[in-house]
């Protein structure tokens, strides 16, 4: 019976000497008869010899380990999970808080758009309300300018009578008459601001020189005492002593001009103040402004004040009612949002602190 040809495993085992003695005998008897088998065995031996002769590569370094390398290399995965989980939870809660807060804010804005703006834009809204209030005040003042016209007329007539009486009696000198009419100039001074300094200076001189800053009567007395030194009235009212009727008309005209300009000046000044969002009452009384205008035209200013007060009262009442209602609505809507936001913020902060503490604890 012919034996089968040895396979590669048997040749390799024969070369390595791992065959059993009986298999070695059988293999060698086969090899004696088979030249090809002998060649294969020789080739295998050559390969093994070369592999064993192959020089080993030198290591580029020593691989000695240190305690620090061992501790770095042995991070157990279990401790990582808890901080990771906590961090994930914290992140999820933060995202949830954001979504809830945003949703509530959007819900509020959908219900009452002004309410939604209130928390973030409260200062701006306050300014807008102040501006609206001042606008209402200015409107009320404009209305007041028109409303007290009869009173002004009365006052004007009285003043004209008072001034015309001495004129008609011929007891007043032209200087005294002129001294009675610094009103237009002072009215301009109060209304125009810095627009006419020359006009302000000229009529103020008599009062300054006499040392009295008072009303027309005092000014008239002072002007009468200092008549020779007064120069400007000569040019401003040269036709005063001409006749009674023209003088009366002139006096009335002058008073009317004073009244109108004074009231206009007050209105303009108050409008300017209102535009600057500063309360009128908070303004210090200027020496040549409102007080002089009041002194010169007490009836018109008083009417203005009354109208002012009424308009301001109405405005304040309206404002109070609106702002109170808005505040109540805002409070009612913002309370749950604030609670939610605060609660979620506290929870997130707690989780972050726990995560940080746990990570440090594990590391330590």
């Amino acid at each position: 019976m012919r034996q089968r040809a040895p396979n590669a495993v048997e040749i390799s085992a024969y070369v390595d000497g791992t065959l059993s003695p009986r298999d070695v005998t059988a293999f060698e008897s086969r090899m004696a008869e088979d030249a090809a088998l002998r060649q294969r065995v020789d080739e295998t031996r050559q390969v093994v010899a070369m592999m064993r002769a192959m020089p080993m590569r030198e290591t580029p370094r020593n691989y000695l380990i240190t305690p620090s390398m061992v501790t770095q290399a042995r991070p157990s995965p279990a401790p990582r999970r808890v901080p990771l989980f906590a961090m994930r939870l914290a992140t999820s809660l933060v995202a949830l808080a954001f979504v809830v807060t945003s949703g509530l804010t959007l819900l509020q804005s959908g219900m009452t758009p002004r309410m939604a703006m209130a928390p973030s834009e409260a200062p701006q809204e306050a300014l807008v309300e102040e501006f609206a209030a001042s606008t209402v005040e200015v409107e009320a003042e404009v209305a007041a300018l028109e409303a007290p016209a009869p009173a002004e007329d009365e006052m004007t007539l009285k003043a004209a009578e008072a001034e015309a009486t001495p004129l008609a009696q011929g007891t007043l000198t032209p200087e005294e008459e002129l001294a009675l009419a610094p009103m237009p100039a002072e009215g301009e001074a109060t209304g125009m601001g810095g627009g006419g300094e020359e006009i302000v200076e000229a009529p103020a001189e008599p009062a300054e020189e006499s040392g009295v800053g008072g009303g027309p009567e005092e000014e008239a007395d002072a002007a009468a005492r200092s008549a020779p030194r007064t120069e400007t009235p000569e040019t401003e009212a040269p036709a005063a002593p001409e006749a009674e009727a023209p003088a009366e008309e002139a006096a009335i005209a002058v008073t009317e001009i004073a009244d109108t300009e004074g009231a206009m000046a007050v209105a303009e000044a108050e409008q300017g103040i209102a535009e600057e969002a500063q309360p009128l009452a908070a303004m210090p009384p200027s020496p040549d402004g409102e007080i002089n205008a009041e002194e010169e035209a007490p009836g018109g200013v008083a009417a203005l004040d009354v109208a002012d007060d009424k308009a301001s009262a109405r405005t304040l009442e309206t404002q109070d009612a609106e702002s109170g209602e808005m505040a109540r609505e805002f409070r009612a809507l913002s309370r749950p949002t604030a609670r939610w936001a605060i609660g979620l913020g506290v929870a997130t902060a707690l989780l972050a602190a726990i995560t940080l503490w746990m990570s440090r604890h594990r590391r330590g």
Binding site: N7, A8, V9, I11, S12, A13, D16, T18, E43, T44, Q46, V47, V48, A49, M50, M51, R52, A53, M54, P55, M56, R57, E58, T59, P60, R61, N62, Y63, L64, I65, T66, P67, M69, V70, A73, R74
Partner: protein, 201 residues
Amino acid sequence: MTATVETWDESALVTAAQRGSIDAFNELILHYQIQVYNLAYHIMHDPAAADDATQEAFISAYGALKHFRGGSFRAWLLRIVSNACYDELRRHKRRPKISWEDFGDMDEEANPHLVDPGARPEESMQQTELRKALERALAKLPEHHRTAIVLVDSLGLSYEEAAEAMGVALGTVKSRLARARGEMQALLQEEQELLPTRYRL
């Protein structure tokens, strides 16, 4: 340390290392690091990757010493490094990179570790030619065949140790080794002219 070379007691060192002695484990490292590195190199074909794999294998081995239940410590160590190399190779397949061997003839000049300063020039040249021819042929083998022939023929492990190092049955080692040798013989036959005279088939 010289005393430990003369009185080499692997089991005592392993026991001491299992009790936490890093010095004992370092003794084992010094003894086996060349074999571990060469196996890693033949699997990876990249000195830098073999270097990393060797270091990682020793660190992992120290951490896993409590799982060593006796037998061949060398086979256990080589199994750790071979597994680390295969894992790394799988990662390399996902993100391939240029191997040191891709530079061809630059190998010798660029890597001073390959030059044996103590060898005679002619002998050193023959050794270098032989190694290069074998490494080229080994690189063409399937991974498991290459590991088997390196473990048995180059590192001198027994079939049993190789089976333990590879984590396979003894018969598998025999068959892989036989096929690897046959493939190597065919490959070297093609490069007869590149082999030193005394090694030509």
